[in-house]
Assembly symmetry: C2
Homo-oligomer: 324 residues x 2
Amino acid sequence: MEKVKLKLLYSELRPELDKIEKELEVAVGSNSLLLNEASLHLLQAGGKRIRPVFVLLAGKFGDYNVDVMKQVAVPLELIHMASLVHDDVIDDSEMRRGQTTVKAQWNNSVAMYTGDFILARALEYITVIEDPKIHDILSKTMIEVCRGEIIQIEDKYKLDQTVRDYLRRIKRKTALLISSSCELGATVSGTDAETAARLRRFGYFIGMSFQITDDILDFTSSDEELGKPAGSDFIQGNITLPVLFARKDPLIYGRLKEAVGKDMTDSERKEIVELIRTSPALEEAKSLSDQYLNKALKELMLLPKGNANKTMRNIALFIGKRKF
Amino acid sequence: MEKVKLKLLYSELRPELDKIEKELEVAVGSNSLLLNEASLHLLQAGGKRIRPVFVLLAGKFGDYNVDVMKQVAVPLELIHMASLVHDDVIDDSEMRRGQTTVKAQWNNSVAMYTGDFILARALEYITVIEDPKIHDILSKTMIEVCRGEIIQIEDKYKLDQTVRDYLRRIKRKTALLISSSCELGATVSGTDAETAARLRRFGYFIGMSFQITDDILDFTSSDEELGKPAGSDFIQGNITLPVLFARKDPLIYGRLKEAVGKDMTDSERKEIVELIRTSPALEEAKSLSDQYLNKALKELMLLPKGNANKTMRNIALFIGKRKF
């Protein structure tokens, strides 16, 4: 439902996005039956394709050519897809976006190698780009995404981590890929360095806001809206911002401490979700998300006006208004 | 023991190999404590560094510069290391070269992400190379290695696969990375295209011979020599050449059919190993390995003479004489 509405905001990009979607289908194709099925399963699980959207929009600030945009949009989305399928192994996730995950449909090994294969395909795309600067941004992004995942493993089940730990983690996990999408879209379309840097910062801020919002939704949405049980992140040991704010209440802290890392029954899960929902933590998290959003909007105000700027603004405002 | 002897054959490369070893240590360094430990564990488990050796030797046919060689040797070894750590997940291996694997020391998730991280680091090295042809070979190699692993999963426990299936698999799994090492070593040192192509073919043939030999050793070596139980490959469902040849005997076939994919006791494992050892299968496999070896030697004979040629010849002959 929500996904459909977000897509309306960039409906003018439909023809280009369809082109990218077809290219993604080609990219994950292989001679291996198993790999083909697993990759297509992953691709068809969809997603918002928000990284390609930001590449395209950033490209509109320069000399826009969809075929050039595609060359960076496809590997960026592939890196994202690969990280998702590996995430599902780490988090032991059965469902994502209402669909069974690759690791659930097949097993951990298949998920691992599907991810490896998709990552390798991303690299194949990267190699045809001749500009060393773009290579550099893409590879650094990939490395940081990987590092982010490692940090995520290290921070698991640590109820006593700091908010700073959380922010560092989501920066690498989410914000970086979006900021690179914006920066690369600008760079390949030949904008000046200042515009590219501004778009990179916009991407970073919007990415931070986006991930905080996602982490809030894990507690506020219904199981049906999420396509997985509410509170899944907590069950998987991921300590997100709402939890970090909620633990300030000693009663909640005590309850969280008992629950973290334990096998929870369904009613225990619902109790934890309810505890967080009725605490001030979600409002506090929303407020931090809004701070990032405002920083993103400020960057936009300093960028050239036009359709791309307007669409970016609408996406930012949409993220700010996502229903809790 | 054997590893030490092989190393003597390229002792003249020691200073360069030490340089590469140091660079590998830097390459796998990170801020993450867990990742650092896991990567160092993997690095210190050692290995023959045969890919860097072939890069260096191939480079000696052109304009040899160790710092240029290093730029391709390091990512090639990193790709190899990453594939090993992911292999251990797929094969559920507890031991490799007499050491606990990353997945055994930590768990599957850590092994998966250590591999991802190392792969990302390989990519980082690749990006600093400006020659698009070299990018292309490296990324294609990485993709084919990944594909090889997928095919390995698909072919697991299939006792009725063909010898052709096996050869296709080890080509991608082993031969390709060695042939790319030779080709890249030649290419970055500016040899003519014919020399590079010949070295690539040499690497391919020697890689095929090397892997067949390895698969023979899985049955002929003692548990101590292997650093893991003999017959491990078969227990893990990998159907290698000795098995494919041995199954021609209907009695052995029947016994293998019962055993494949089952949880075997230690005495059952030893019985299977003994069955293969006393069949003509090992001699037949050795003969196929020798055929590849001879093709490799033929390529060498058509290449310029010199120390590098001689060392490559000695390595080839060593592989041909590895004790069974």
